[in-house]
């Protein structure tokens, strides 16, 4: 697979992998953008092109690690992007899957209690995902932005580095994907009859989408955000000595 650069034609990249449409949507780029390169659309939409290229490539290639590009963009825009993906999960993707599961349960007469159990499991999963996202929004992201601020304006920050470090985040980084994987397994292997097969198909497909997207989200956090924050933490500590 070819790596995307600012010279790459955006439509060509998307024709090769249509999943990128969801990614550019988080930069407020929608279909109908015309025959433009990645660099041109970034200029037009006032998006940092280095950051855009890192996000697109990281989505396409799991092993992509932009070591040399890490310094080229701000954590502020990375956090903004991650917040947009959070918004997408909580306000679009999860409610949509919930609606499908509700229909699956209510459409069965007489009632199939096994489906109700799956619904409860999904509800528990959603609560966990929500908690995880809220912790990132309330603790991790403010910390990340604070570190960047100290890094850029060391003269303004009188106090030392807070006790929380990105190391904490790494250890508490819940594996919400595990539960999702269990849900897929249960749907595929252990779902009790009778049920609406078409709905089960659609739910499973949506769970796969969500899983791929969450994995991608974690990868950006683990491979881009954390290394960049750690680099800043190290430099701040060195300067303090």
């Amino acid at each position: 697979m070819r790596t995307i650069s600012t010279e790459t034609n955006l439509a060509d990249a998307i024709l090769q992998n249509h999943n990128l449409l969801r990614v550019i949507g988080r930069f407020d780029i929608q279909p109908g953008f015309g025959d433009v390169t990645v660099g041109e659309i970034c200029h037009k939409k006032d998006i940092d092109p280095v950051f855009m290229v890192v996000i697109l490539n990281s989505f396409l290639d799991e092993s992509y690690f932009p070591a040399h590009d890490l310094t080229g963009f701000s954590l502020k825009q990375l956090v903004r992007y991650l917040q947009k993906t959070h918004d997408y999960y909580l306000n679009h993707q999860i409610p949509y899957i919930q609606e499908l599961i509700d229909r699956l349960c209510s459409g069965q007469q007489p009632e199939n209690p096994g489906l109700k159990v799956v619904n409860r499991f999904f509800a528990a999963y959603c609560r966990e995902l929500n908690d995880h996202i809220m912790r990132e929004e309330k603790v991790t992201f403010p910390y990340v932005l604070g570190i960047e601020n100290r890094f850029n304006h060391p003269e303004e920050s009188e106090t030392g580095i807070p006790d929380y470090t990105i190391q904490h985040y790494e250890t508490e980084h819940d594996n919400v994907e595990e539960k999702l994987n269990d849900l897929k397994n249960i749907m595929i292997k252990y779902l009790p009859q009778p049920f609406d097969f078409d709905l089960v198909n659609r739910i499973t497909a949506e769970l796969y989408w969500l899983e791929k997207d969450l994995n991608e989200h974690s990868r950006i956090e683990d491979k881009i955000m954390i290394p960049k924050v750690r680099m800043m933490e190290t430099e701040l500590k060195l300067n303090r000595r």
Binding site: K116, V117, A124, D182, N185, I186, Y190
Partner: protein, 186 residues
């Protein structure tokens, strides 16, 4: 591994097995602690245990956690025609046939394309307890297992079912009638 309490029977069995010229290493254990140690550090294919161990919880643990391919119970008396039994009065030919057949079955199982998927009775108990909210430590205590064995059961359950989280196992347990929805903490 040869595990009767009697020293004479152990050595006798070792000699009989040595006479068969099998390409296997023979371990001797007089008690379950030694047997468990040996089982944890070696790939034990076959256990020949004295019948005195048959009702022992520690023995049950040994054979479920170590996963030998075959188990024989050795009796000083003639036991009714069970393939899983060896007795003091067997002829060398009978012994050779049984041992070779068991080792061969083990090999065939190894070559089976699909891994074993059915949960053992003990694994079902572990699933049930996990679904009711028990920790690994609680399970070890309730089932009288070492923590290591409880963890091994859990690993095997994950491998067999493809379900990793306690919540996922709870759903599995409800769907399979191991616990009720009311009992579950979901």
């Amino acid at each position: 591994m040869i595990l009767p309490q009697s020293h004479i029977i152990r050595l006798g069995l070792r000699q009989c097995l040595a006479d068969l010229n099998l390409p296997v290493k023979i371990f001797l254990a007089a008690d379950l602690t030694t047997a468990t140690d040996l089982s944890e550090n070696n790939d034990i294919q076959l256990i020949i245990a004295g019948e005195e161990f048959s009702d022992d919880a520690g023995f049950h643990q040994l054979v479920t956690s170590g996963k030998p391919e075959g188990i024989f119970l050795f009796s000083e008396n003639h036991l009714p025609g069970n393939e899983q039994n060896l007795s003091l009065f067997m002829t060398p030919v009978e012994l050779a046939a049984k041992i070779k057949m068991m080792l061969q079955t083990g090999k065939e199982n190894e070559n089976m394309p699909t891994p074993e998927k059915e949960l053992s009775k003990r694994e079902k108990e572990v699933v049930r307890l996990l679904a009711l909210g028990a920790s690994n430590k609680d399970i070890a205590e309730k089932l009288n297992l070492s923590l290591h064995t409880a963890l091994t059961h859990r690993k095997n359950i994950i491998r067999k079912l493809g379900i990793k989280t306690a919540a996922g196992l709870t759903v599995f347990a409800i769907l399979n009638g191991m616990i009720t929805l009311e009992e579950a903490n979901l």
